[in-house]
């Protein structure tokens, strides 16, 4: 038997590839714990997760858009715009109403993206590239390219401070939202139908799913999550700035793709995105504690991304096999128990 082929087709290899996020995350944590003193302390973890929260909110929106087979580049610009509304309107409206306006900006921006893609049928990469440029320019225009500051720097500390000695407010919000997304994607009919739309919108339509409504909804959802991220981010720093979130979308896409969601649509998971985010957060924390220059950090992230995509391709021919961790565990247990039965039989003989 060809040994090399054997490895690439074995259940073990498939299992490794499918559960690569868990493996890379574990490797990152082990290395971090070895090289960085205090890496596994709760406070370090809490701070590392806080770093991920804003990115994570944008990534939640992108997970849905990517599963639907689309792309949304405008998240960072929406984040900046809704942050400017949240902070800039505080004096006129009060802090809480202004935050809701900020959220509304995200929803409206998402609806514009949805309109461009679903009604005008513009390719989502082009449509959101254009809207990204437009929203970003608008942010510069209404602020005259200067950051706006809020009325009370202490107001937003609630979202960036640990609550009751655990996680920060924004980390908790992120966790709740990603768990809700996981439940929606896996347990609800609508969630399952989103995957069908992402795999093939036409055939989903033919089987009675309103594909266009799902696509529109995906963009509104993504805009809303960018809005939430903008509100939280701007409150935490008491500033709305036209330059906020300039790099966030590409890193969020990296996290989502590391988590196993495919750009082609129809495949992905909320927990995968969580894994991807945790990996990036752990890598960032570990390398920053070692004063690794940020461009080296970018190289490591890039290499991991490429490696995962290549691994993905090696098994793409046989995606149908059930090689989730749970299934592998079941299989390992059943093979062990059958062996034990065998042995017991021997003894009885």
């Amino acid at each position: 038997m060809n040994a090399r082929r054997n490895i690439f087709t074995s259940d073990a290899f498939h299992g490794l590839v499918r559960n690569r996020v868990v493996i890379i995350l574990a490797a990152t944590l082990i290395i971090g714990a070895t090289f960085v003193p205090g890496f596994l302390e709760f406070r370090t973890a809490s701070l590392g997760l806080d770093r991920m929260a804003t990115l994570g909110l944008v990534a939640i929106g992108l997970t849905v858009v990517l599963i639907a087979g689309q792309l949304d580049l405008s998240g960072g610009a929406i984040l900046a715009l809704s942050g400017i509304a949240t902070i800039g309107l505080q004096a006129e409206l009060g802090q809480i109403p202004a935050a809701f306006v900020g959220l509304g900006v995200g929803i409206a921006a998402g609806a514009i993206n949805g309109f461009l893609v679903v009604v005008l049928r513009i390719n989502s990469l082009v449509a959101t590239l254009a809207s990204m440029l437009f929203f970003r320019a608008l942010a510069h225009l209404i602020t005259e390219s200067r950051p706006v500051s809020g009325i009370d720097p202490f107001f937003g500390l609630a979202v960036s401070r640990p609550i009751g000695g655990t996680f920060t407010g924004r980390t908790l919000i992120f966790f709740v939202l990603i768990i809700l997304l996981h439940l929606w994607l896996t347990r609800s009919v609508a969630g399952r139908q989103l995957f069908a739309v992402g795999s093939n919108p036409a055939s989903a339509e033919a089987s009675g799913i309103r594909s266009r409504a799902y696509l529109f909804g995906a963009f509104v959802f993504s805009g809303t999550m960018a809005g939430v991220a903008g509100v939280i981010q701007s409150l935490s720093v008491n500033t709305g700035s036209p330059v906020f979130g300039e790099n966030i979308v590409l890193i969020a896409i990296a996290a989502v793709v590391i988590g196993g969601t495919r750009l082609e649509g129809g495949r992905g998971s909320a927990l995968g995105t969580l894994g991807g985010l945790l990996t990036i957060a752990a890598l960032t924390t570990a390398m920053e504690y070692q004063s690794v220059p940020s461009y080296v950090q970018a190289i490591v992230t890039g290499v991991i991304l490429l490696l995962l995509i290549l691994l993905d391709r090696t098994v793409s021919g046989s995606q149908r096999r059930d090689v989730t961790l749970a299934a592998l565990w079941r299989r390992a247990r059943s093979s062990r128990s059958s062996r034990i039965t065998e042995r017991t039989l021997h003894h009885e003989k």
């Binding site: 950051p147 700035s241 300039e246 004063s291 461009y295 490591v300 062990r336």
Partner: protein, 328 residues
């Protein structure tokens, strides 16, 4: 079967580990080299960028001064992204260092982080760029050039040169950045104060980047061309971009309008000697980095430090270009 699974999985683990390890291991060597052996003071330094004509020499001088003082430095780089910077400031506070040095890229956004640092009893020194007055009550000291004053000096020089009338364009740095705001507002507000008839035709943001300044200058030259009486660039790097665009447009460098820059870079000195550049203001990044480190070390040791420690500024024109050392 089970043996094979464990063999393959451990091989993959080793591969993945090795990948990340190679990044961390090389970095560990670097930081050990930077920090003095058993310094009991640790400083967390949130810098603006890793690779930049002004920031890099400031970072290097910072590290050298740290090695001399025997203190350990953890350096985080914002890469000119404010949001990253505010998060890195929180990471710094979480490490409980003896002092934090922050290179602020926004006059306001770091304030909640500075409040947290003050609550944690960690002294903070701002390096290079100013923040708004509300921020200053949460920091121990601000070391760095007075950027507003640089704008004022630039306005005075150009106003005298042009006889208080004419058209100028401003090639500004990154939008919203404290240095950009200081150098630009200092300039325009001083012109108003002087009652000057000099008109600012346009302000463009070129992010302290030569290439972006080149592109913006092409447009400025096409649009205003011979109507330009002078150019004010927020730094010499962007002034270089304007000179390149002028040469590229096929015009003679002898006819180039007078350019006012800031920083005192070597190439600006050469351009002044060649008569293509009117003046620059020398501001030494090495001085900047060293001053911040020494100030935070004093603060960490509990010594009293001044709330505002400016670095000296020198104006350079054709008259004194041979007598002054370029800053970088």
């Amino acid at each position: 079967m089970r043996n094979r699974i464990s063999l393959v999985s451990s091989a993959a683990m080793v591969a993945a580990a090795g990948l990340v390890l190679s990044g961390c291991a090389s970095a560990a060597d670097d930081s050990n080299g930077d920090a003095a052996a058993d310094g009991d003071i640790s400083i967390c330094y949130v810098t603006a960028a890793e690779a930049h004509p002004y920031v890099t020499p400031a970072n290097e001088a910072f590290d050298e001064a740290a090695a001399e003082a025997g203190v350990t430095v953890t350096r985080l780089s914002q890469e000119f992204d404010v949001q990253t910077g505010t998060e890195q400031l929180n990471t710094c506070i979480g490490q409980s260092p003896d002092g934090i040095v922050l290179w602020p890229l926004d006059p306001q956004a770091y304030i909640p982080g500075l409040i947290s640092a003050q609550d944690a009893g960690i002294p903070v020194v701002l390096i290079n760029s100013p923040m708004d007055d509300e921020a200053l009550e949460f920091v121990t000291s601000f070391t760095g050039p007075d950027t507003y004053n640089q704008g004022v000096i630039a306005a005075d020089l150009l106003n005298d040169l042009l006889g208080a009338e004419g058209n100028v364009v401003i090639i500004a740095g990154q939008a919203g950045n404290g240095t950009t705001i200081g150098r630009t507002d200092g300039f325009t507000e001083r012109l108003d104060e002087l009652g000057s008839s000099i008109e600012v035709l346009q302000i463009v943001n070129a992010d302290f980047d030569q290439q972006k300044a080149l592109e913006a200058s092409r447009d400025l030259i096409t649009r205003f061309g011979d109507d330009l009486d002078a150019v004010y660039a927020n730094d010499d790097t962007m002034a270089r971009g304007f000179i390149d665009a002028w040469a590229e447009s096929g015009r003679s460098l002898d006819d180039i309008p007078p350019i006012m820059g800031i920083n005192g870079q070597q190439d600006a000195f050469e351009s002044i000697k060649a008569g293509q550049f009117f003046a620059t203001i020398v501001q030494s990044p090495r001085e900047d980095g060293k001053l911040a480190l020494n100030t935070i070390v004093s603060a960490a040791r509990g010594e009293a430090v001044e709330a505002r420690i400016p670095i000296p500024l020198t104006t350079v024109t054709i008259d004194n270009v041979d007598d002054v050392e370029p800053a970088l």
